[in-house]
């Protein structure tokens, strides 16, 4: 036995063992990518380097034998620097394509690729469970989300993106209808209590997440029902209340307590609430319409967009008159104009100061509004609202033209001097934005834009009070953004309750740039079409416009997925160390080594693009399997692993023992599903 010191710990190790093995025995992990204890040390990856006292060179822990009295530092500044450089060099040459763009571009990183595949395989309950790992409202979000996932989907480079959002709604509806929801796993109760203000997508997601973590959660909401903007800002014809209700009920069934008709400042102070809970999350949204600050906004018949939608949900019957104009080009404007149509207004206009191309609303919403008879007027903006006897009689429209692009690249509307027009109207709905209602939250510091200020860890200035969603920092956004924040805020609260520190998990990935050329050989398969009720029929009522996908078309649609993301992301040692060592994956990117994908070994797919040339597969095949099917070919930067020759006997020779697949530290080798089991 040899005694040495590793990171200030005295360690006993067998003579002849490596520093790596000695450290592992002492519970000290030295990262390494090209070593397997059954194989002879190789020393290629350079990640396991450590510093030894009195030795001028860095030592490879995998290949250096322990010696009596050695003093090893596994994480000295120099070793870490060398290790990190090795990682950066590898990541710069690793065309890993870790996550599909769908998952990457989803603000909450929902694993779209996974649940789409589960749907394609008919495993709907699994698909819903996958979604619920991120948020508890799949049927609702599937209906309303503007789906950044789809917008990023690479299938658009073949013909059209996967209909991810509709698939989500389909799976959730199907599982709910079939009643085979998979139960979620709960951590044992912690005895800690969390109060959440606001029962919208942010509040409910945070509540669900914290409840699964074992905390006792109560959600307080000012409205009679849970759902927040999903309920009071999205019209019935897009998201039926019954669908939402079923999902909020399911959250309650998981143990979350709901308290409705409870308004902070009216029913209790925030301070009081804080006193009753171990932590509080403020997720009260942005519930005030932004006014235009033009003359006449106080006239009767002038509505704020979300105020109007909420009034309709609450059963009010706003007398709209014959002619209605909605100001704005976003989704709230679309919801408002289509609601106005359904309430019987004869002529409904949308007034937008830019052109159709700049409208932030979803294209399908615009198209469906048009089908329902809404008329669009572009390049105009109300300069004032005229009234007659205290009630709207029309607006004065200032005509605009597009000027220079603004900071976001959208061309700025500029008034055309002297060009105005009078438009006769009975109702004007102003849907140009939302802002916080901060009544009752005076104790919290605010940002310049009137939202509640918080740090990166979602903590407000008040101890134990956190904030997320529309109410927080950057203001109103889409539901899935609020959910993404809520999930992180939940982690922050969990850490707070457990006395730990919240660290945002870095999203470390290797991303690939692709073009149409990459998919030139793909067969084109038409994207599914969501069946909808005819415009003539649907404009008369509030029943859901979309009829939902049938099972066959849903599975067919899901099967179109290109499965961009790496199968191995969860287990990839390369990515694990990249995260651990805070690796900048793109910094040392240059030309990639030769990449190709092949399945000569029949049951094993080899993706040379992801290979880091650790040579483990070659070595296990040679040293353990005694086969030598794989070999290194070439020299220098272009060295690749290959099974040589298109030899028809290779598959028999190979016998798919999987040793190489198991040895691969990253996703370069994959056992094809046909040989599973």
């Amino acid at each position: 036995m040899v005694t040495l010191t590793i990171d200030d710990v005295k360690v006993e190790a067998e003579e002849g063992s490596s520093i790596l093995a000695a450290a592992a025995k002492a519970g000290i992990e030295i990262p390494n990518l090209c070593h397997l204890k059954e194989l002879a040390p190789y020393g290629a990856c350079g990640v396991c380097v450590v510093e030894a006292e009195g030795v001028p060179k860095l030592l490879r822990a995998c290949a250096t034998k322990v010696a009596e009295g050695m003093v090893i530092k596994t994480a000295s500044e120099r070793a870490l620097k060398a290790r990190k450089l090795a990682m950066e060099l590898m990541m710069g040459d690793h065309d890993g394509d870790c996550l599909g763009p769908c998952k990457l571009k989803c603000p909450a990183h929902t694993d779209c690729q996974k649940y789409v595949k589960e749907i394609a395989e008919g495993r709907y309950a699994d698909a819903v469970a996958t979604i619920k790992e991120v948020f508890p409202l799949p049927a609702s979000i599937g209906r309303v989300c503007p789906h950044p996932c789809e917008n990023a989907c690479r299938r658009r480079l073949v013909e059209a993106p996967i209909s991810i959002a509709h698939l989500k709604a389909f799976a959730a509806d199907k599982v709910r209808a079939d009643g085979n929801v998979k139960p979620a796993a709960h951590a044992p109760p912690t005895g800690r209590k969390v109060g959440i203000v606001g029962g919208g997508p942010a509040g409910l997601s945070a509540a669900y997440r914290l409840s699964l973590l074992g905390h006792e959660v109560t959600v307080f909401d000012q409205m009679p029902e849970m759902g927040g903007m999903l309920r009071y800002g999205i019209p019935e014809y897009r998201l039926p209340k019954a669908v939402l209700k079923a999902e909020t009920d399911a959250i309650a069934a998981e143990g979350v307590k709901f308290v409705n008709n409870f308004k902070i400042g009216r029913d209790a102070t925030l301070e009081k609430l804080r006193g009753e809970f171990d932590a509080v999350i403020v997720a009260n949204g942005a519930w005030r319409s932004v006014p235009m600050r033009i003359p006449g906004e106080d006239l009767k018949g002038v509505w704020g967009g979300i105020d109007f939608l909420r009034a309709v949900v609450n059963g009010e019957k706003p007398g709209l008159g014959r002619r209605v104009a909605v100001v704005g080009g976003g989704n709230t404007a679309m919801d408002a104009c289509r609601t106005a149509v359904r309430l019987g207004a004869e002529e409904v206009y949308v007034l937008y100061r830019r052109t159709r191309d700049e409208m932030p609303a979803e294209k399908i919403e615009i198209a469906e509004a048009e089908e329902e008879g809404v008329k669009f007027r572009f390049l105009c903006s109300p300069a004032g609202i005229a009234g007659d006897d205290g009630r709207v009689s029309g607006v004065e429209l200032q005509m605009m033209e597009l000027g220079e692009p603004d900071a976001r690249g959208r061309r700025r509307p500029v008034p055309l001097e002297g060009k105005t027009e009078m438009m006769r109207l009975d109702t004007v709905i102003i849907a140009v934005g939302q802002q916080n209602d901060n009544d009752g939250f005076e104790m919290l510091a605010k940002t310049g834009r009137g939202t509640i200020a918080a740090g990166e860890d979602f903590a407000t200035a008040a101890d134990g009070v956190f904030v997320c969603g529309d109410a927080a920092g950057r203001g109103a956004g889409i539901a899935i953004e609020a959910i993404a924040e809520a999930n992180e805020a939940a982690k922050a609260v969990d850490a707070y309750l457990k006395g730990g520190k919240y660290e945002p998990a870095p999203c470390v990935v290797s991303e690939r740039e692709v073009t149409r050329d990459d998919f030139a050989d793909r067969e084109k398969i038409e994207r599914c079409r969501m069946p909808v009720r005819p415009a003539e029929e649907r404009r008369r009522d509030f029943k859901e416009v979309n009829l939902g996908l049938d099972e066959e078309s849903a599975r067919k649609e899901a099967a179109r997925c290109l499965e961009c993301g790496c199968h191995d992301y969860a287990d990839c040692r390369l990515i694990r160390y990249a995260k651990k060592l805070d690796t900048d994956c793109g910094r040392l990117r240059g030309e990639f080594h030769p990449g190709f994908v092949e399945t000569k070994l029949v049951h094993i797919e080899r993706n040379q693009r992801k290979c880091i040339t650790c040579n483990l597969c070659v070595r296990v095949c040679e040293e353990k399997a005694r086969k030598g099917v794989l070999g290194l070919v070439g020299r220098g930067f272009t060295t690749v692993v290959k099974p040589e020759f298109d030899d028809p006997s290779i598959p028999d020779f190979c016998r798919s023992c999987r040793l190489c697949v198991d040895a691969c530290p990253t996703g370069a080798l994959r056992l094809l599903s046909s040989s599973n089991g």
């Binding site: 030598g628 290194l632 070919v633 099974p643 040589e644 020759f645």
Partner: protein, 163 residues
């Protein structure tokens, strides 16, 4: 690549394989001799060597692709080794390379359509005092200028056409 894509006379290899039968360390030497016989290393020859030596084809291939001397494809009748060593670099090897590429219409590693020339840029021929240098088959040409290099190639071509 596959073992059936070439039809070499494998009998020519037998004496070589026999000669080195007792030497476990002779793979490089065998490949060198095989290349002398066949002009390059055809797949069936690589397969044969693997089989006879009890090695996997991948292993033989790994060695054959590691060293710059080995060629997996046939070369032209005249193999031009253009030196890109340090002295040649300093004395204008790049301009010689360009002249040859212009004259032959091929780049490094390629063979002309008529099969007359293959151009290979090499690290150093060890004739640094005469840089820039190239070697065509066994003959070394030194103190090259772009014009001189073109002339040499042209005269070899003319000779080839005469024959």
């Amino acid at each position: 690549m596959c073992k059936n894509c070439s039809k070499s006379d494998l009998a020519l290899l037998d004496p070589v394989l026999e000669e080195f039968a007792g030497d476990n360390h002779a793979l490089v030497a065998i490949l060198q001799r095989a290349q002398e016989i066949y002009g390059h290393l055809p797949c069936d020859v690589i397969y044969r060597i693997a089989e006879k030596r009890g090695l996997s084809p991948a292993k033989v291939m790994g060695v054959a692709t590691f060293y710059s001397q080995f060629r997996l494809k046939p070369v032209g009748k005249n193999l031009i080794l253009l030196c890109k060593g340090t002295a040649c670099h300093v004395n204008g090897a790049d301009s010689i390379a360009k002249a040859l590429k212009d004259e032959l219409g091929i780049s490094d590693g390629e063979t002309t359509a008529d099969g007359l020339f293959t151009l290979n840029e090499v690290a150093c021929l060890g004739c640094c005092s005469l840089s820039p240098v190239m070697m065509i088959n066994e003959t070394t040409y030194g103190s090259l200028t772009p014009e001189k290099a073109k002339e040499i190639v042209r005269s070899i071509k003319a000779e080839g056409e005469r024959q």
